[in-house]
């Protein structure tokens, strides 16, 4: 038979299931007709009618057997069996609504939670870019000394960036890639027909789209001809999403002008739908040639300077080329550039560092998922949460296995009888498995709803600015995951009960007990160990959640060094709307003036680097009396701030004064430094009055004040050395954060857009929120982990309690007679209580012990996620054990009480 014929025949058999009755009728009619014909023939030959009929029937053979054989030909017998099993399974599930409900509920919570976390996991860490052959993409990085300047951020840390010249050198001379691309994400303000939108943009090399193999949805994409002259390529490609949402998918936009950060560009095309750049968390509105960096980003990076690192690189391997081969080929080239061209350029480097520098290598890593800082920062928490939901699911499965075992004991009579009557054990196991799979399917379906809710909950925990395009929806891959999980759980929790409930000794058991079968020892042991396992898992989860909660409390209690209650903040970027440096300075002053007029605003101030927003700016300084030399770290963070900066945030100066309106251009250059700065640069004898300079600027700056340490970019990181300069003495501030202290934040939040808009509607207000919100956003990962793990731990504990209750209640019911005998022999209620609770204690002791061990291991693994506590925090451990003991005793209370009230007379007569 050909494959086609086989397929067709299987299909016909399956279809046969649906048309069974009509097939049966046809068969009967056909066969009856056949026998009638034969009988008629025989009658014609002279036989009496009834003899003719008899002989005709004999000649035909056993009609039912033929019918059975024919029926098997018309449809697949296995399919019919399964259909029958499924129908039977549904009937059984409906007949025991309580068991079914509990099982489906716990399973749906387990599957739902796992699917939700998997959805994020998949989106952040698994899914490849939507481009052809993503497996051939590789990311480049070159860890090692990078003296000079740098800029790095969303697409990866500073090990990953290269200088522009190095990019071009590699591009020209490499022979291992079919294409090598460079890019650089930036915050963009895009204005089309007076409609400004702020978001992301990407500066891309001409090879960017060809490397990826992305196609245009309209017009053309950027190519090698678009990145030849620095600062001369005024063209832009729009993202499909932006084109659809803001330009209405207008096909007439080609050749029209669009302003990117206030610079007019010509729209040449739209990228294909679904392509959102190569950096997770960055959703580009536009793609602009990388050569425009110098035009778009004020005080941007240098194209010629080999000591200025800012370009992210990825490449497509030549067909058939392995990562190792490419690495060898590329590093030969890189080594010679580093040694022959770049090493002679390095100055002030110690011999050791120079040796390191000469030894630098390019690392190639699989780049199918693109380049994103999020891959690193989120992989640990997501893996952890994924593990936690797996544990919850495991506990749910254990519960269901327990329920099925208990119900199996109730159905032992039925199974025993069927086995005695010659039923095939494999068929019975199959039938029970179908039952548990049906249960799992219900659980899986309900789990999808739970997953949707969980995702919505998680979405609410992540600030929009950080969720960077995470969809929070159930993608096909997630549905596939849930489905596999459903089948896997159905089989895993169904297998032992199915095997156990159809064991051969049921037949003897029926004979011996005549109507009553006691639970076999193996099952009892199995059930107890399941509950012990649940308790141990729940213990570990409770402790883990406790650790994260305590960590979050520590985070919330961090002394920021500033008073931020009832401070409102937002950011303005006038240079993206076309202002120059001087214009922007005037603009800031006007905004300050207008804001001061808002009622309830008591003081206000500004800073160029936003507080607690993850942004850093640092540079090397030459401080009076501090010796520099090769390899001496003279770096300090800095910020450019407005008048009243410290008083607005309630920071008391340790020494000296803060900035006043007199600290403006033309006046003596001044600075305020923090205590860590004082320590780092050995100014302990009195910093005020000392001088320093920040090269390449040669002007000397006098320190006029010292402030206590204030957290800088991260709530959790210790304060770095910082020097503050009055922004009015500087010329180049493309965007500025504003802070308003007010007695009533709510109305102020609502009025700001209007106030700022009246000055210039072309400059949109960004990131408007209260400072406490800003702080919460800065530590959202901690909040997310704590809240989710706490929720999952509570869930796990409840599930374990249900399991414990079920086992105890069942064991008490089974031991009714034994308890009756004991009581008849003089045991009092107290002893019965003790007997049941001892069972609880045993499981608690073993389970809790294992759980403690698990929690210690877990704590070690999650060490990096904890803040301000050791992973074996005794308070958390003790508290978790107390909670668990309490829950276990509560679960044991009802069964114990029932046991203590057993009436010996009734229990014995029950026999």
């Amino acid at each position: 038979m050909t494959t086609f014929q086989r397929l067709r025949s299987t299909l016909a058999r399956l279809l046969g299931l649906a048309t069974r009755t009509s097939d049966d009728a046809r068969m009967r009619e056909e066969m009856a007709w056949h026998v009638d014909q034969k009988a008629a023939q025989l009658t014609a030959q002279g036989l009496p009618t009834h003899e003719a009929r008899r002989q005709a029937a004999v000649a035909f053979g056993a009609r039912t057997a033929h019918q059975e054989a024919a029926r098997d030909q018309l449809r697949a017998p296995w399919a019919e069996h399964i259909l029958r099993d499924v129908r039977y399974a549904f009937r059984t599930l409906v007949r025991t609504p309580f068991v079914t409900t509990v099982a489906v509920l716990s399973l749906s919570l387990g599957i739902g939670a796992s699917s939700a976390i998997f959805s994020l996991f998949d989106e952040v860490l698994l899914r490849p870019l939507p481009v052809p052959e993503p497996g051939r993409l590789v990311n480049l990085s070159a860890p090692g000394p990078k003296p000079g300047y740098g800029s790095c951020g969303q697409a990866g840390d500073c090990d990953v960036v290269f200088s522009y010249r190095m990019f071009r050198d590699l591009e020209q001379h490499q022979g291992v890639f079919s294409d090598l691309a460079g890019h650089f994400p930036f915050n963009a303000s895009v204005t089309y027909q007076d409609q400004p939108v702020t978001g992301d943009g990407v500066l891309v090399s001409g090879s960017y789209f060809p490397t990826l193999g992305v196609h245009p949805a309209l017009g053309r994409l950027l190519s090698e001809s678009d990145d030849q002259g620095i600062g001369t390529n005024f063209v832009a490609v729009l993202s499909y999403a932006y084109w659809q949402s803001h330009l209405g998918g207008d096909r007439a936009i080609l050749g029209k002008a669009i302003a990117v950060d206030g610079k007019a560009m010509t729209i040449v095309g739209v990228a294909e739908p679904g392509f959102e750049g190569t950096t997770l968390g960055v959703q580009p509105l536009v793609y602009v040639p990388i050569t425009m960096q110098t035009i778009l980003i004020p005080n941007g990076e240098d194209f010629e300077n080999r000591r200025d690192y800012w370009v992210y690189l990825f490449a497509r391997l030549k067909p058939g080329m392995t990562l190792q081969q490419a690495s060898i080929g590329l590093n030969g080239l890189y080594h010679s550039i580093i040694n022959d061209v770049e090493a002679p350029l390095q100055q002030g480097m110690s011999d050791a560092t120079l040796a390191q520098f000469r030894d630098k290598k390019i690392d190639l890593e699989p780049g199918a998922r693109g380049q994103s800082e999020m891959h690193q920062s989120t992989s640990a928490p997501f893996l952890m949460l994924f593990g936690v939901t797996g544990v919850v699911l495991l506990i749910a499965c254990a519960n269901i296995a327990n329920l099925l075992l208990a119900r199996g004991a109730g159905r032992a009579m039925e199974m025993g009888l069927r086995l005695a009557l010659g039923a095939n054990r494999a068929r019975l196991i199959m039938q029970l498995l179908v039952e548990s799979l049906a249960l799992a399917c219900f659980g899986g379906l309900a789990g999808l709803v739970v997953a949707k809710w969980t995702l919505a909950g998680i979405a609410a925990l992540i600030p929009p600015a950080s969720s960077g395009g995470l969809a929070f929806t159930l993608q096909p891959s997630v549905l596939l995951f849930s489905a596999s999980l459903t089948v896997a759980t159905g089989i895993s929790f169904g297998l032992f009960p199915a095997w156990h409930n159809t064991r051969g000794d049921l037949v003897t058991a029926i004979r011996a007990n005549a109507g009553h079968i006691s639970s076999a020892r193996a099952a009892a042991r199995f059930r107890s160990s399941l509950v012990t396992l649940q308790i141990s898992l729940a213990t570990a989860l409770l402790i883990a959640a406790g650790l994260f909660m305590k960590s979050l409390v520590n985070v919330a209690r961090v002394d920021l060094g500033v008073h931020i209650d009832s401070v409102v903040t937002f950011r303005l970027s006038p240079e993206r709307a076309g202002y120059d440096d001087a214009g922007a300075a005037v603009y800031y002053a006007r905004v300050e003036e207008a804001l001061a007029g808002i009622p309830t605003v008591t003081t206000l101030t500004t800073s160029a680097v936003p507080l607690f927003a993850g942004q850093n700016r640092s540079r090397g300084v030459n401080v009076q009396g501090f010796a520099t030399g090769p390899d001496v770290d003279n770096g300090s963070h800095y910020n450019l701030v407005g008048t009243n900066y410290f008083s607005t945030f309630g920071v008391r100066l340790v020494a000296g004064r803060e900035f006043t309106d007199a600290d403006r251009r033309g006046a003596v250059r001044v600075a305020v430094v923090n205590q860590t700065f004082v320590k780092k640069f050995s100014l302990t004898t009195g910093a005020v009055g000392k001088y320093f300079s920040d090269p390449p600027d040669t002007a000397t700056i006098q320190i006029v004040g010292v402030v206590p340490d204030v957290k800088y970019s991260q709530v959790k990181a210790p304060a770095p050395p910082v020097f503050y300069l009055p922004w009015r003495q500087r010329a180049d501030i493309p965007s500025m954060s504003f802070y308003l202290r007010t007695t009533r934040p709510e109305p102020v939040l609502r009025t700001i857009s209007g106030v700022v808009g009246r000055i210039d509607p072309g400059v949109p207000v960004e990131g408007l929120k209260t400072m406490p919100q800003q702080v919460r956003d800065n530590v959202f990962l901690d909040r997310m982990i704590s809240i989710l793990s706490a929720a999952f731990a509570v869930l796990a504990t409840l599930l374990a309690a249900v399991g414990l209750y079920g086992v105890l209640a069942y064991s008490v019911a089974q031991r009714t007679r034994e308890i009756g005998v004991r009581m008849a022999l003089g045991a009092n209620a107290r002893r019965v209580w003790v007997m049941v609770l001892r069972q609880v204690g045993g499981m608690l002791l073993v389970g809790g012990g294992i759980g403690l061990g698990g929690a210690v291991l877990f704590g070690k693994a999650a060490h990096s996620l904890l803040f301000g506590l050791v992973e074996t925090d005794p308070v958390v451990f003790a508290l978790s054990l107390v909670v668990l003991t309490f829950v276990a005793l509560a679960a044991g209370y009802l069964p114990a009480r029932r046991a203590s009230r057993v009436d010996p007379i009734k229990a014995l007569r029950y026999e």
Partner: protein, 114 residues
Amino acid sequence: MATRDSRNEVLQGTLDMLVLKALSLEPMHGWGISERLQQWSDDILHLNEGSLYPALYRLERQGLVRSAWRSSANNRRARYYELTAAGRRHLAAELQAWARASRAVNLILAVAAT
């Protein structure tokens, strides 16, 4: 089987071929096929008439024959079977294979006899 009829049972696997051969002449019902087979074999082959039907259904499922209700000579409706194009091809292939196999067997027997 404990007792054996003097007549031969239809060789396993050849029944399908015989049915197809019968149907290659004209469309007919199950009863007709069994009569035709009996005739051809001069009553040597013993066909358990009922076993014809599973074979017919199998062939139909494989797409080698198709069937439909038609009224028969005595005005009762009967299920008529006919070959499909695939059935015709299949029969030709089967006959060829059969001819080859039987010639081979005969040759061996002839050699063995001398």
